[in-house]
Structures are given as structure tokens and as C-alpha cells.
Symmetry: D2
């Protein structure tokens, strides 16, 4: 028999026997481990585990109920956190954009080719410009204008809209506004951003101008989870590419676009597959 | 308590419950799994597992005896192969070279900086040229001349020398001779070679000349296990670097040297850490 | 004054004084050299030069007339070939596709963001599937069906259509048909193709399957000019990315898509900027 | 006839006709331009030119005398700076090291294989440890101890030693001391340093620790000219490599070593070939 597929994420203090206890327990409940990745942070003795499993004869609801009961007994006193994600249930993604289409177009195209394990349920922008490009993908496009004076109201509006869309994850695909700490707290779910530099270098505004002024020989892009402190959240993915003295600020921006597209897609994909765990402002990415 | 460290490699047909059974068994014998990597080839249903463990209260000899007895019972009927490598026992490596020193110098330097989990117990060359460079590393340098007519005799001599050195692995670090199938069969242990192209392109002689003639925009290097068929053994590591129309064949050779050094070091390191399993002329590399 | 911008391409046998004679001549005619790139192939003594110039007081028509007269006198007996490209005149590009949209979407998006120095004047496919995706870009989409039996007729139809569109360059953006030598001869203008392997490895059909079977640790993509011999034309751009034993053939195809997109965009951009010269089935790419 | 080879570097304000005037002048003096690279910084209108030439019938002394006379007349009022480097005259390089051998070993090995256009005339260290490794390369090894209290005296000693060695360029190959502004001013010649991060990120001490704490997904290395401000001089070359959550600080240091070696070798090579010009704390690197 082949049952339901799920991802089980476990995070706790490290101890001898965790793998044996949990894998044995899953086996007794009829589950089959398809892939398994674990990591121990030896600096602070934390243990992280991602299991992709087939529940076989059990339904996922039954498995969840079983784990709710048994996990605290299996791994007591270790500060255990665990999550069971139904692999057949696709995340509901909302893209936030401004005027630059490249990251948005790439994610919509991947979605259209069924490459993402998610449904893009909306695109929200503070400008109407990109609406026509979204049209053939049959994804609703909404304008939520935002100015310095209207920020609180606009963010309330945005929050209501996201709730309506039943969104699970926000992706800031070159969205040019900063979400307030208040918004982030109320939203309470993951926000993935793409920053156009190899953070922590060139945080803040105009990173390509900063890179040009410093005369670096490579530029980068960084996808990270958004936290209240700007450009300082846990990094999910980064990449760099070579540049030369010939490249003007405009050339850096053009070359950087390709990095932004690839790095954001990489991070979104890992996030959707539940391959990313956050620990102390760093990420564990099981790929 | 902290016991002895070891790498346990398991390869068998895939089946539900393997992870549970083995990890449970190790736990009951007091072992602690430090890291664990597994892979299933879904095309032919083969399962591969690398466990880095601490034997805790058991000695490795006791653990080996225990596994000898229990493993066939734990995983019956699956064509099981397993190996237990004592992590404290360093492989004995022999480098084979001709006249080009770059790969040899790199491996000797890494060895000197204690970066390799191995002892380089000898350098064998068909030319005397590199002897002075080996001298400060205090590794014996031996010349085994080889010509078309003397090949059989030279290989017999080489084999005797390797036996004397109690070598575990041969590394062909730009060795310009082809080892015969007869030699490989008698030697019976791993031979790692570096080929100066991104195989399977430009197999055979003068790959940089071939690359230049074809006008490729990148050149590569490939580290692989040596099999009787030339340049066709299982690939362990590869890398490429960009080249342009400005690069002559000599420039390709110069740029390629850096690739050869890095790719060979990468492959040797993975091999020594018992991270490489061979399956159907392909490798699984657990890194 | 600022006049008209143009690219002057020169190819001839190498000789002392070419740079002096031509740059002096351009200066006397009031032209300003903005950038200049040259290359000498020392193997066969050929010289290649790309000059990006501002014609200042002259019109390009006047400059062209002047060069028509003077160039044969300036560089006699050297097998001279030269071209003057008006930088303000955008190439007319036609994309040819089948069912895979990724390369097409990327080029249409770049076109839409005004990143390409060209007008995409048509998309031609042997299948209707991609029509809706092309719609928002306001580029005509045409289906030219092709089967084994109708190939000659279909190619005649295609040729007529391209003539109607006044196309300058064809880009095969994962077009799954092979254009006949007869068609190529009649068309007589550049055709850029993307092949999904690091040629010359894995030429022909199903390169990702071939790559998987050989167990390579990196996959690649190659953009090249199409010649009558399949996958053997002059290479413009290549790139590779790392893969592991975990990657199935489907994973290779997914990872490879990103390479194909980037490598094809790179090659098309260089081609459109008149940065590519062909010599002996190799390219000189002035970037 | 084939004469002497030289590199002519020109830097001045941009103006129409510079290329024509200089190339024509060189031609009239019988010189043959072998390769030519130029760059205009359009932000501040500066022009940079590197010419690799064959002086043919003239000796370089004659050519130098000729240019001394004619260059100010050819390019008047443009703030002209020019240099003529005899390509046959090899720079005299001194390596400065502490206890880490990898960059030093790499440069000595390249020197030994005749890959560098320079003579390494000395290795200076503040520790005696690396002396045995230098021995087979027949390069003098000198210890110049340095402590907080003896810095001024040690630097005076160092300066005297470098003068004795007639050194042209210093290469800090993981030298763990900071050279004072006073020393740099007195020395007055190029100093190339390798920093183990992708500057400007993680400037200062313990960059691998900083990188690990921030949780970056790539680490880098930067070769730059040393200026009085620490880690802020003009960047010559940079590279990065991927890291994961598995990498400890020690792993980053090990992976980073390979980057440091490659980036420093790249920068030293470009410097020695007179391919690097400095402008406004940025470099133009003609490769």
C-alpha cells in the first residue's frame, strides 16, 4: 500500500538515541521513511531532523493524533518542537511587488509550469503597473497603495486582504516598501524577501550603487526571512556573480536581476518543501 | 563516556523499516549516531546509508563482532553489504606522479597542514624530477621507470613496492602512464585519478588541445575511480571554469591546473572520509 | 556634437599598423572611438576588431560610403571583411518554440523590460500551447505545424513567414525540431540555439538522461550558432551547475532549465550587440 | 624583426582622438601593438589604456626617450600619466607570512613552475615556523620578529631588508600583522594583501567567525592593495564559495583557504602583468 506523504520536522536538544526512538516509533506505526536529514549544532547541542515519510496504512490525521500523544513521551525534557506537514496540501503564496517584474514573472512562470509545490493565490502591489503581465496566469492582482501617512491604514488593509486569501507565506519579490514590525507581528507567518546584495555587505538602500562605489569584483543577492530589523533576518540562500570595471551601476542592476531571480526561486522552493528550519537567526536548509 | 568513532556504510535493497531496525540496534548496543546520511535509488530500489557513530562503551572490535553476528539477521534477503571503518585509523596513501608537480604539491601541503585524514606514505614517479620538492615533507620518493617494453615488469615492481608500503589507496596526481587491467586486478584497492577535462567530453589524450579546437567556453576537470576502461570509471567530483577566445592551449593548461588541484583534493578528501559509495558506475557522495 | 552610434567589425590577416591606420582614418573623419576590442589569433595570424564609435558630424550613411571607398585602400591584400552596424537600428528577432515556455518567457520578459537591443517581432511554434503566455507581450504567435512528411512544405511556409516578418535572427528557444540544411541555406542569416548539455558532451537527444546515466557531477547548457551538422556549430556561451546523486533525470531537467535560460539570454545579448565574430567554427566574443 | 616587448600604460582625461594619435605615433616609430585594452570611466571622463607592444627596430631605451619627449605633446592638458614597463624585466617579489603556509606554498610552487612573471627574492616572517617548507625553493627566509613594543624598530628593520633585496612588490600571504601608515609611506611601492572575506563584509579580525555567526550561505576572499585604512584599499580580485549549516567555523576556515590561494594568485598575476590600474580606490583590471 502507498499512503499519504508528509514532512515531519523535529527540533530539540541533542541526546543519544533520538534517531532510534523516533524511527522505531514510526516503523511500529507502519510509516516508511523515504528520506531523512539531520543536523546537530555542536556549539549549543541542538538537534534538527527532517523526515519525508509515507504514512502507509495510517491517515495523516491518525498519524498526527498518534504523534500528539506519543512525541512528548518519546523525547521528554528536550524542549521538543515538532511539525507534521501534509505534502499533498499546497501552501498558499502571495507575491508582493512594486514596479520591477523580473522576480514576479519568474515565480509566476515556475508556478505555471507546475514547478512550485504551492498555489500563488494573489499578487499585491503598491502600483498598478504590473497588472497586465499577471493577467494570463489567472492570479488576482490587487493594488494596495501605501504612503508615509497612510502606512498604518494600508497595512491593516493588506492584512485583511491576506486573511481573505488565506495566505500562508508572503514573498517580497522586489517590493519596495518596508513592512512594519507591527504588521509582521500581526501577520505572524513567514515572509521571504530578496535583497540585492550579498548581505551583510550593502544592507539598506541602493546596494548596487554602494557596490559600484566600493569597487567590488562580484555582486550578490540574498534571500532571507523578514524580521523587524531591516535586512538582518535569517539568510536562506545567496549567490554571487563576477563584475568588472566596465560595469556601470546600471550594468550591475541588470546582472543582479538574474541573481535575484535565481536566489529567490531557490529560497522559495526550499521554504515550500519545508526544508528550512530557523535557529538563532541562522537557517538549517536540508537539500 | 566517549568511545571510539567509526563510519558504518550500508548498502542493500530498499525496504520499509531499515532505518528503524538498524538505528534501534545501534542504540541498544550503546552507540550514538553523530551524523547519518542515506539515499535511495528509486530506479532500481537500492538503499545506501552512511552513519558516523560513537561506539561509547563498546570497543570497535566488540562492535564489529556484534555486527558480524547481527547484521545478516537484521537485514536478511536484501543483498546486504556493509563496512565498519575505524575513524581513528588513517588510510595509507601513495601518490603517483610524473613531471607535473601541482597536484602532488597541493596534496603534500594539505597533508603537512594536517588537513587530510590520511598518511601519505610514499610518492612514486616514473621520472626523478620531483624528488627535491618532496624532500621537506619527509615522504619517501621512489622512481619506478616504465617503458612500453618494461611495463609488465615495472608494474610488478610497483605492486611489490605498494605492498611494502602497506598502501590503501593510490592517487594518480597527473601520472602520465596508464595502469594495465592486470595491475588493477592484482592491486584490488581504490585508485583515484584526475582527468583534465569535464568527462565524458575530451576523454583520452591532450584534452586541452581538444577543448581549444572545439572552441568551448569553459574547461573542466574530473576526479574518478580508475577502472580498466580508460577515463570511464565512476566520477567522484568535477568542476569547470570559464575561458575565452583569448586563451591559447597553454592558457587552458594553466587555468586547468587550478581546477585539477581543487577537484582532486575534493575527491581524495571525500574518499578518505568514507563518503563515497559506488553503484553501477556512478557514485553516491555523502557530504 | 554627438552623432550616430555604430559598431564597426573588422576581420583580416594580422599586420603591423592596422590599429594606427584605421583609428587615424576614423579620427580624420571626425569619428570618436567609444570602446575598442581586438584579438589576434596567433595560430593562423588572423586579426579581429570591434569598434563602438560615435560618428559625430558625419551621418552613418556618409561614414558607410566613406569606408566603402577607403577600407580596401587602408588594408589591402589582407582578405579584409568589415561591417558597419547602426546601433540605433534594432534587430528583428523571431523566437521558435515547441511546448517548453521557460526560455521564451525569459526572452519576452527581458524584451518587455527593454533589456534586449532588439524587437521580438514574432514567436513561431509547431504547437499552439504557448499562445496564451505570449499574449500580454503583444507579439504575434504563429503555429507552423511540422511532421516528417510535411517538413519540406512546412519549412517553405516558415521561410515565407520569416520574410514577411523581415526577421534578422532566429532564436531556437527549446524548439524541438531540426531545421534542414536546405532551410538554413535559404534562410542565410544567424540562428542561435540552446542545447541542454555542456557540448560536446551529450550531443543529440535526451542529454539529461545521458548525463544521469554517466553519473556526472555537473550539468551544463550551451548556446551556439546552428550549422548543418547537428549540435556542432560555433559555441557562443556555456555554463554548468553542480548536481548530486540525489538528482533524478527530472531534477536535472529542472535545474538545467535555469542554465538554459541564462546561457541563451547571454548569447542572444552578445549576438545582438554585435559582440560575436565567427572564425573556424569558434567564436570571438567581445564582452 | 622582433624587438623588445613592453607594456605601455596610459591614464588621462578622455578626449576624441587619443587612440588615433598614440597608435599612429607608435606605428611611425616602428612599434607593433600586440594587444590593446582601454576603458573610459564615463562618470568622471577618465581614460585608461594598456598596450602590450613589440618595439621592433627600436630598443626600449630609445622608445622610452622618444615617449618622454613626445607624450606631453601628443596628449597635452589631459593630466596625463604614463608608464613603460619592460616585459622582459621580472619584478622582484617578497612574500610576508606568519604561520599559515597555504598561500605562500602556492605562490612558491607557481614560481617554481615558472608560472609567475616575477622572481620571488625573499620570504619574510614574524615566526620561524615556515622556514623548512621554503628551503627546496632556494628563496631566502628571514625572520623579523614584531611585538607591540618593537613595531617601529621592526618595521625599520624590515624596510632595510626589503631595500637590500631590491624588492618591487610586497605580497602579504596571510601575514598576521598590520603594517603602519608610516611604513607604507616610506616603502612607497605596491603591497598586495589577501583578506579572508568578501569585503566589505566581515572586515577586521576573525572573518570566518563573523561569517558563521551571521549565517551566510557563501564565504569569500578578497585580494586588495594595502592602504593606511585597514581592509579598505582598492580591490583587485574576489571569489566566493557555497557553505551550509553543516560548516563549523573550522570548516569555513578550511574551505576559505582554497579561495584565499586562488584569489591571491589571481591578483598577483594580474599585478605582475601590469594589468591593474588604480583609480579612486577602485581598480581597472585588464585581463
Amino acid at each position: 500500500v502507498s499512503g499519504e506523504k508528509a514532512v515531519l520536522l523535529i527540533s530539540c536538544l541533542d541526546q543519544r538515541g533520538i534517531i532510534a526512538r523516533v524511527s522505531n516509533h514510526l516503523f511500529r506505526n507502519g510509516c516508511n521513511i523515504i528520506t531523512s536529514d539531520q543536523h546537530t549544532d555542536f556549539e549549543d547541542g541542538h538537534f534538527f531532523w527532517r523526515i519525508f515519510l509515507d504514512s502507509q496504512s495510517l491517515s495523516l490525521a491518525q498519524l498526527r493524533a498518534e504523534l500528539d500523544k506519543s512525541m512528548p513521551e518519546l523525547l521528554p525534557g528536550l524542549g521538543l518542537k515538532w511539525q507534521l506537514h501534509d505534502a499533498s496540501q499546497r501552501d498558499r503564496l502571495v507575491l508582493m511587488v512594486s514596479k520591477l517584474p523580473h522576480c514576479m514573472m519568474d515565480l509566476l512562470s515556475r508556478h505555471h509550469e507546475n514547478e512550485l509545490d504551492a498555489d500563488i493565490v494573489g499578487v499585491v502591489s503598491n502600483h498598478p503597473d504590473l497588472a497586465p503581465l499577471v493577467h494570463p496566469f489567472k492570479v488576482p492582482f490587487t493594488v494596495v497603495s501605501i504612503t508615509k501617512d497612510t502606512k498604518a491604514k494600508a497595512e491593516a488593509h493588506l492584512l485583511a486582504h491576506l486573511t481573505e486569501l488565506r495566505a500562508d507565506t508572503l514573498v517580497l519579490a522586489r517590493y519596495m516598501q518596508i513592512l512594519s514590525g507591527d504588521f509582521l507581528a500581526k501577520w505572524g507567518k513567514p515572509v521571504v524577501n530578496i535583497h540585492h546584495s550579498f548581505l551583510p555587505a550593502f544592507a539598506g538602500a541602493r546596494p548596487y550603487k554602494q557596490a559600484h562605489d566600493r569597487g567590488v569584483k562580484l555582486i550578490g543577492a540574498t534571500a532571507h526571512y523578514v524580521t523587524e530589523e531591516l535586512d538582518a533576518g535569517p539568510i536562506i540562500a545567496q549567490a554571487t556573480t563576477a563584475v568588472t570595471h566596465r560595469d556601470t551601476v546600471a550594468d550591475l542592476a541588470r546582472k543582479g536581476k538574474d541573481l535575484e531571480v535565481m536566489v529567490l526561486a531557490h529560497a522559495v522552493r526550499a521554504h515550500l518543501r519545508k526544508q528550512v528550519l530557523v535557529h538563532h537567526n541562522r537557517t538549517i536548509v536540508f537539500e
